[in-house]
């Protein structure tokens, strides 16, 4: 390095690291992003990835069909451990969804410009994660065709749901979350659908995108109401996203089972949700920007910011683990103390140690900027954190249920091949939906990128 030049990682240079690479105009961002959907032929890699994901979805359908034929007995659940994989996976998927809403709503309210190029696919990720999550409580009911019993409707039997139960709160929280996420995503898409309508050459595409765009023409009066609605949705989605994982944590915290009955659950569940969600955004963003040459739009700055959010939420999660441990010991409640001992020395302690390794120790590497700007390293870490967050839910659900108050009620849990097929199957569903999404809808908000071009060109004046 020659003298006088600032070192490549100096703060002077980092401050200039852009959220969009220079040289883009309204036309170039429009062309580049819409071309992925409209003109670029699907690559061999896309077909290969889609085929694998589709195959995994077929495996999911087999697992679900066999479940409906035989019942939940094909799973590893038994009498003390009635929750098992279904609830572990449900909480894991719902948590992943949270980053999408966080990026699109909270960072929007905080006026963080770097959210622009990642919010669209993060929102899509939210929807697909909620779709995967929704499968689990539904099939866990044992008779999924009776699931409508959970909704309040005037039945001939004259019965109504019991609104004091956190499981009913869950139904409302998750369905509201799914609906509002869909609305938020769709409202954001309207101007881009209009762009695709106007740029599509083939008649079927014009008709489909035209129908979805509903005749949007970018009128100033429309934009004004649109912006009000979008801002309000962001304001509504912010407390909503915090409430959803809070309600999910109530499923545990309201029960008296040792290891569940703690007041720290809501904040620590929400932090864990954001943590795993950002990890999943990175897991998707890194291959996506590579495959579709979007490095100009999803820049190093985005990856580094997301890594920093992961580090921060990871520390909150670590704080949660510590206080779970501390409060059990401090309370002196013998069941709580025993549960801590079981986590450290019981039959599932290797899950607990793996969890600490994945969720607390490994992410400490993110303190180093070298790691945060090393793309393959970030990708690996995002996967480690996803695994860690899954282990967290496994530890919470399984260890507590196998060791509650009475030794006569203790048990063991091991998942069967059907559990694994269903879990891996939902991952296939998630990936397949993402593959379809990047081919049929703009993965980056074109209208918001134009706004960013307008703002950055003003800054340079």
């Amino acid at each position: 390095m020659s003298a006088g030049e600032p070192p490549i990682n100096s703060p002077e240079i980092r401050r200039l690291s852009p959220v969009i690479e220079p040289g883009h105009t309204y036309a170039t961002v429009t062309d580049k992003i819409s071309a992925i959907v409209l003109t670029r032929p699907a690559s061999l890699g896309w077909f290969a990835g889609f085929t694998v994901a589709f195959g995994v979805v077929m495996m999911l359908t087999i697992a679900l069909a066999w479940l409906i034929i035989k019942g939940v007995g094909i799973w590893g659940i038994n009498v003390p451990i009635g929750w098992g994989f279904a609830i572990v996976n449900f909480v894991w998927w719902i948590g992943i969804g949270h980053a999408g809403t966080l990026i699109s709503a909270i960072l929007f309210l905080l006026n963080q410009k770097w959210r622009t190029s990642i919010n669209r696919f993060a929102e899509a990720m939210t929807l697909f994660a909620v779709a995967c999550a929704g499968i689990f409580p539904l099939i866990h009911t044992g008779r999924p065709w009776m699931a409508f019993y959970m909704f309040p409707y005037p039945s001939t039997m004259g019965i109504w749901p019991q609104f004091r139960s956190p499981l009913i709160w869950d139904v409302f929280a998750v369905s509201t979350y799914g609906t509002v996420s869909l609305l938020f995503w769709f409202v954001g898409l309207i101007p881009d659908l209009a762009t695709l309508r106007d740029r599509a050459v083939s008649k079927p595409k014009q008709i489909i995108y035209g129908t979805l765009a509903m005749g949007w023409r970018g009128s100033a009066r429309h934009w004004q109401r649109y912006q009000s609605a979008y801002l309000l949705l962001a304001g509504l989605a912010t407390p909503l996203v915090l409430s959803v994982h809070t309600v999910v944590s109530f499923d545990f915290a309201i029960a008296i089972v040792p290891g569940w009955h703690t007041t720290i659950f809501p904040p620590y569940f929400v932090a864990g949700a954001i943590y795993s969600g950002f990890a999943m955004v990175l897991t998707i963003a890194i291959p996506l920007r590579k495959a579709y040459d979007l490095e100009d739009f999803i820049t190093m700055r985005h990856l580094e910011n997301m890594a920093m959010v992961m580090l921060a939420t990871g520390l909150i999660v670590a704080y949660g683990y510590f206080f779970e441990f501390f409060m059990s010991m401090y309370s002196g409640n013998k069941f709580d103390v025993f549960l801590v001992q079981q986590r450290l020395h019981g039959p599932y302690n290797h899950y607990y140690f793996a969890l600490i390794l994945c969720n607390i120790l490994t992410p400490q590497l993110l303190w180093f900027q070298k790691i945060r700007t090393n793309v393959p390293m970030l990708f690996v870490m995002s996967i480690i954190i996803n695994i860690g967050m899954w282990l967290e839910r496994f530890v919470i659900v399984v260890i507590s249920l196998t060791r509650d108050f009475m030794p006569s009620a203790w048990g063991r849990y091991s998942a069967t091949v059907w559990d694994y097929m269903t879990f891996v199957g939902t991952m296939g569903l998630f990936v397949m939906l993402l593959f379809l999404f990047v081919r049929v809808l703009p993965a980056i908000s074109i209208a918001e990128m134009r706004e960013l071009v307008s703002e950055t060109s003003e800054e340079h004046k």
């Binding site: 609104f163 762009t195 509903m214 023409r217 009066r221 004004q224 609605a229 309000l232 509504l236």
Partner: protein, 184 residues
């Protein structure tokens, strides 16, 4: 009579601009010139365009507030009716109206009511879905309005509207292209 017939086929005159600043300047000048039925079109929300066009504040926030209140009050009232009147259940001896336990669902329904009214209120006020609009007859509008160009339309229903004059006005404020918008 003939002028009236003629006017009914004309939606307005459309000027095309390259930057949002030109559009804002043109909108301001159009209002200064006395035009009132004017509308700007942009591929992204342009700051300051609403003010330049003299738009009033919109009522989407009010609709959202009403929707949220209906969702919240309706949600709580419904739970009260179910758990106190229609189907009272004794759960661990707790009061039928255990209102703290009704708060999570009340909150969710408040958000749901507000979000649905924000989106559908916005669409209804905007008159969407609207499959046909005369502006789409203008080829350059259909091609560029949702991509990289900015448009100002002086509509025929403006009291001061005159085709030739409006076209001359738009040329005078540096519109790159000026075209008439036909509604037939």
């Amino acid at each position: 009579m003939t002028t009236h017939l003629h006017r009914s086929h004309i939606y307005g005159v459309l000027g095309e601009f390259e930057t949002e600043h030109q559009l804002i300047r043109a909108a301001e000048k159009a209002r200064d010139a006395g035009y009132r039925r004017i509308e700007g079109y942009a591929p992204f929300p342009v700051e300051g365009l609403s003010e330049a066009l003299g738009l009033k504040r919109n009522i989407v926030p009010l609709i959202t507030l009403i929707g949220g209140l209906c969702g919240g009050l309706g949600g709580f009232g419904f739970q009260y009716w179910v758990n106190v009147i229609a189907y009272p259940l004794n759960i661990g001896g707790r009061p039928f109206n255990s209102w703290p336990a009704f708060i999570p669902v009340t909150f969710e329904l408040t958000v749901l009511g507000a979000a649905l009214s924000a989106v559908f209120g916005m669409l209804a006020l905007n008159g969407l879905p609207q499959p046909y609009h005369p502006l789409f007859n203008v080829e350059r509008f259909a091609k560029h309005a949702t991509s990289d160009r900015f448009f100002l339309c002086i509509e025929a229903r403006d009291k001061k509207f005159n085709l030739a004059e409006a076209a001359r006005f738009l040329q005078g404020v540096d519109a790159r292209h000026v075209s008439e918008v036909r509604d037939d």
